[in-house]
């Protein structure tokens, strides 16, 4: 891989240790990916914020690589809501370490987005933009729904690209690697949680290829977001197409095989996660909710009073501000709308053991031992709401 004379100087450490670590990581990844060189990026999005996820090893790495970012850079959720605490109590050590992680990122000049949906208000890529994004759900969203171009960056590689302002030009940055090679054919129109289940199904059965989903041309972007998140959890494929909906759905290889998805395949995925009822907590907002989704949920609970399990929603600060009327209605009902965090990256098991959600991604992570430790129920939003409305 070619480096410019200026990049060589960074590589040799003339601009400090942090930049040297950053460019050397980009160089290694570019060499292995077959890149010709580094290309400028419009923005970065960084994962590796919750202390629950990165631990002491991650914190040490961040101390070493701390340097100013050179492009607009948004950042993933952390372990609790900085604006009003919650969703669960945390111990002093966790709080102290988490706040140090946050301070390091702030000192680097990264925006205080704390969201897995930076594309709502914080960091809005346009078609064809080259990016270096981490966060599996945001990567699949940016490539597939926005038509921007990012590889599946890891937390450290996205941060390195943010510091250098460039990324190796391999993989998804090249159009020939963006073609669908497998066709996914569900047998009915799918709703939000069914799309999330299809995301898991396609991740498990899609043979590591970019899929084209057909027969779902009425989908809204938040329903595709549900697929993007579940698919990103269950696979390592950074992109998919939805026929007639996503902007590059004409990119399909002629030899692409078709996988027929029976209605029972979708049901089986959801039935795998059917915990003992009722749950202690209903958690919605993985990925973080949009203004449109908050308005929809407010409409379902308007004028009613919550009974039964806790009812928590998760979004980012700007969405919560934009949807303040809906938020008020949800909180009058007895629910809570948290920002900066979510059910996956907060230490939920400090308080809860049984969680119900409409998220395929959360259903992937929350049941795992020594991580989420939850008994998970995976249902549609209408079924979830029935538990909290008398």
């Amino acid at each position: 891989m070619y480096l410019t004379p200026e990049e060589e100087k960074i590589f040799d450490g003339e601009y400090g240790e942090a930049k040297k670590i950053a460019i050397r990581l980009l160089y290694s990844l570019g060499e292995l990916g077959g890149a010709n060189g580094l290309i400028p990026i419009k923005s970065a999005h960084v994962s590796g914020v919750s202390y629950k996820n990165i631990g002491e090893g991650g914190l040490k790495f961040l101390r070493k690589i701390s340097d100013r970012v050179s492009v607009p850079t948004s950042i993933n959720p952390l372990g609790f809501d900085l604006t009003e605490d919650g969703p669960v109590e945390i111990d002093d050590n966790f709080r102290k370490k988490q706040l140090e992680v946050v301070k390091i990122y702030q000192d680097m000049g990264i925006m205080n987005s704390y969201t897995c949906t930076p594309y709502y208000f914080y960091n809005e890529p346009e078609f064809g933009d080259h990016l270096a994004w981490a966060e599996s759900s945001a990567i699949t969203y940016a490539n597939s729904i926005l038509g921007a171009r990012t590889n599946r960056e890891s937390g450290p590689s996205a941060l390195s690209a943010a510091i250098i302002g460039k990324t190796p030009d391999h993989g998804m940055h090249r159009i020939e690697n963006r073609y669908a090679e497998i066709i996914i054919k569900p047998h009915k129109l799918l709703d939000y949680s069914e799309m999330a289940a299809l995301g898991l199904y396609t991740g498990y059965n899609g043979r590591g290829k970019i899929p084209l989903i057909i027969g779902q041309n009425r989908l809204k972007s938040f329903e595709i977001k549900a697929f993007a998140a579940a698919f990103g959890a269950a696979s390592s494929v950074p992109m998919f197409h939805v026929d007639g909906v996503t902007p590059e759905s004409n990119l399909v290889r002629e030899k692409a095989e078709t996988i027929e998805v029976e209605n029972s395949d979708i049901e089986n995925i959801m039935d795998k996660f059917s915990g003992e009822e009722p749950p202690e907590l209903i958690a919605i907002g993985c990925p973080h909710l949009s203004v449109e989704e908050l308005n929809y949920i407010a409409g379902l609970v308007r004028g009613k009073k919550k009974t039964g399990p806790d009812f928590f929603l998760f979004t980012n600060r700007r969405v919560k501000e934009e949807a303040r009327d809906a938020v008020r209605e949800i909180e009058d009902f007895g629910g809570k709308v948290f920002v900066d965090t979510c059910m996956v990256v907060s230490p939920l098991s400090n308080k809860y053991r049984k969680t119900a959600t409409n998220s395929g991604k959360a259903s992937f992570y929350l049941p795992l031992k020594e991580y989420g430790n939850q008994e998970v129920t995976f249902k549609s939003i209408m079924q979830l709401i029935k538990w909290v409305i008398a």
Binding site: L25, S28, L29, L32, G33, S47, G48, S50, N53, I54, G55, E56, G57, G58, K60, F61, N76, A134, E135, S136, I139, N151, R152, E153, S154, G155, P156, S157, A158, G203, G208, G232, A233, A234, S235, S236, F364, Y365, L368, K369, E370, Y371, G372
Partner: protein, 258 residues
């Protein structure tokens, strides 16, 4: 020595943990060094050579490997069939040697592996490696299938091509021509295509097979003791025969791509 692709530098050695699955380091590798989902659920990878198909899931996975290294629960080395960027980044920043482009099915539980992550090379202790050439012989769009006799030492009664051990200083083409004369009495074959190494493990022997496609105009086959039967079949028909390991997929790989 087995050659894959060097991903993260370093030399290491250890007992293998073979996981025939993709793994998200976040969530599926616990902080105490245990796989918590899939076929390897409950098994420890601490200080082992962790072998799995490839990474998936959260992009925070690189930090999970770093934290495992920090708490002395990391694997000694990582081998993937196809690496992706999250596990790779984790291996680089955690200084865990890593290799990819190595098939999982050449390893067995209990193997000890020594690997060089810079060169992409590895050795499995106490096995014998044997170099073999397999010829796919074509005549007028038909392929020759030989049924291995009950006198050969491996894969008796299964269909295959024309295979033989490579002698010192032989090229695959030379071995192929020699074996064609010995096993089939054919001397006019010409090389069409040569594929990449394919590895097949049989107990304590690892066959490193160079597959080649050759062409002949001779229809009559004179079998020796190694085979009991021969058939010229259409290429598509081949899929219905019970063949030696990796025989069909290797043919289609070379035939369609290289």
């Amino acid at each position: 020595m087995i050659i894959g692709r060097g991903m993260a530098p370093g030399i290491t050695e250890g007992e293998v943990l073979i996981c025939n699955q993709t793994i998200s380091p976040l969530g599926e590798m616990s902080k105490s060094g245990i796989i918590v989902s899939g076929p390897c659920s409950g098994k420890s990878f601490k200080d082992k050579i962790l072998i799995f198909k490839g990474g998936r899931g959260s992009t925070v996975g690189s930090y999970v490997l770093l934290e495992l290294k920090y708490s002395n629960n990391a694997p000694a080395g990582i081998i993937n069939e196809e690496a992706e960027q999250v596990v790779l980044t984790g291996a680089i920043i955690s200084e865990i040697p890593m290799i990819d482009k190595v098939p999982i099915d050449i390893f067995k539980e209990g193997d000890t592996v020594r690997m060089n992550g810079k060169e992409g090379s590895l050795d499995i202790a106490n096995i014998v490696e044997k170099d073999v050439t397999t010829v796919y012989l074509i005549r007028e769009n038909k392929i020759l299938l030989l049924k291995r006799s009950d006198k050969v030492s491996t894969y008796r009664e299964q269909y295959g091509g024309i295979s033989g051990y490579m002698e010192k200083d032989e090229t695959p083409e030379m071995t192929g021509k020699r074996e064609l004369i010995e096993e089939c009495g054919i001397s006019d074959a010409k090389l069409l295509k040569k594929g990449k190494f394919v590895y097949v493990r049989n107990n304590d022997v690892l066959f490193r097979i160079t597959p080649i496609i050759m062409k002949t105009d001779t229809e009559d086959i004179k079998l020796n003791w190694e085979n009991s039967e021969y058939r010229w079949v259409n290429l598509e028909q081949m899929n219905s025969f019970s063949t030696v390991p990796k025989f069909k997929e290797t043919f289609w790989e070379i035939y369609n791509h290289s």
